[in-house]
Symmetry: C2
Subunit: 318 residues, 2 copies
Amino acid sequence: MDLVVGIDIGGTKTKIGLVDGNGKCLDQTFFRTREYPKLDDYLEKVKSECDELIASLEFTPNILGCGIGAPNASSKRGTIENAANLAWKGTVPILGEFKKKWDMPMRIMNDASAAALGELLFGRGKKMTDFIAITLGTGFGAGIVANGQLIDGYDGFAGELGHVDMTIGDGRLTGLGVEGGLEAYVSATGLKRTILYMQSHYMDDSRFRGIAYNDLHGEEITQAAEEGDAIAIKAFDYTAKIMAQALANFTAFTQPEAFILMGGLVNSGKWILEPLEKYLDQFLLQVYRGKVKILESGMEGKTAAICGASALIWENHR
Amino acid sequence: MDLVVGIDIGGTKTKIGLVDGNGKCLDQTFFRTREYPKLDDYLEKVKSECDELIASLEFTPNILGCGIGAPNASSKRGTIENAANLAWKGTVPILGEFKKKWDMPMRIMNDASAAALGELLFGRGKKMTDFIAITLGTGFGAGIVANGQLIDGYDGFAGELGHVDMTIGDGRLTGLGVEGGLEAYVSATGLKRTILYMQSHYMDDSRFRGIAYNDLHGEEITQAAEEGDAIAIKAFDYTAKIMAQALANFTAFTQPEAFILMGGLVNSGKWILEPLEKYLDQFLLQVYRGKVKILESGMEGKTAAICGASALIWENHR
């Protein structure tokens, strides 16, 4: 049976899984990325986890290759460059180093681009030629599919839309220091920042008046909205409005048929999606109105990143 | 000899030319678009002008097809839709109607996308896989090439970047009523509006204090800058700054290797290009810095639009 190794390198966890040609993850494991600050140790750990996963199968698979999703990855150079949330600094030639340990077909890509490729091969994007996959986690990531292909960019850094300048008022700073950058507003972190902002801006009573920023969790904001907390509801509306403006701008770029959303913020359901639909309809140019869908990811949440990474290899076996 | 008919439909002029496989326009003509408000009369006129051009050649060419560039054109549907500057209202099935008069391979495309295809086949984009062509005329048009292909969009309306919201202060309105839309600032018209704004904002003396908006021409603004007119210089700086912010945002989208500029505003030369380079370097995310070129079009100005339109057909003969 043909299988692909999918690896998702995150700031917190590294997830590894074995994925079949239908995007099904047969088995998976993970370890904490930060426990292996030296690249060589890290890659040894990845390799041994892969070996173990493969050995634990009840059959001997034919491994076609290894796909990797990672923040700040250049698909064209096989590197990770200046990743804010990883211990390895500067430009890391991770693909070249990993190939020294395990000689097989390998590809690496920005994690959001890998997610988009996953949707194209296995998820909601199967029958589409033009869509944008958006990951709304700690940050805001995007993978762009146009003309049925993933857009790479000149040296593999297309889709860094979290740092598009939205110039709202005096502009929050993103982690990269971009003033007014989108992900400072539209992400799980952005929503938390907006909970503070709304408390500063309005006098409404709220459960959040008793909770410090560091103790604030996304699920709690959804729950508060359910209970009618005015600050929570205003925060969702504000987030959705800025997100809608950004999606309207993105639509003018590649005119996607759909935005496919995934990540923590999407779990807030109608609180984010309903105002998002309303504002998007308002902000879209007439020529686009009624043509752009907002969809939730068709991939299973827990293994979505692994399956997306595996799509880098599966793409070449169709 | 193989030739392609290239047609550029503009609000003022319709330009028609015969283009060879090197993008050279052998002969051309034009007429005033508004003199033929009925579509049928217009297409008859186009056809007879084409016949005349072909008959006047010293040889009998093999016409491969006809490529058309037009505002608000949908490449996928062969239509022009809700074009603000054309007499035909609503959705015009122009390709279908023209084929009834002249049965040959035909394609239509947004004029800026056609220009991008022209640069890809014949101009500065020849050796590039990722670039964005920008036309800075009455409006702001863009054609996006990524992965070596022109990006069409879901139903052929990709690249409407003139209406991307830049939300500057209280936002100028574009012709489509988009508040803060890019082309309200960055276009020949936008520059004229900025000359007014700068007079309202600063007290500097200027030759423009004696010139009404309707009497204002782009060349004069360049000349005034040459002579040290403070309002003209401030207007160029302001235009370049907003344009740089937009290009920095666009870079985060498809990461082009270059922006290829054409149209009236580019004739202002260093007055727009020098501050543009300066601000772009300032606004680009670090990962893109030093990798994005600003180029002027490689096509001959007068026939660029015709050659771009012809590229729609030549693209299929390579």
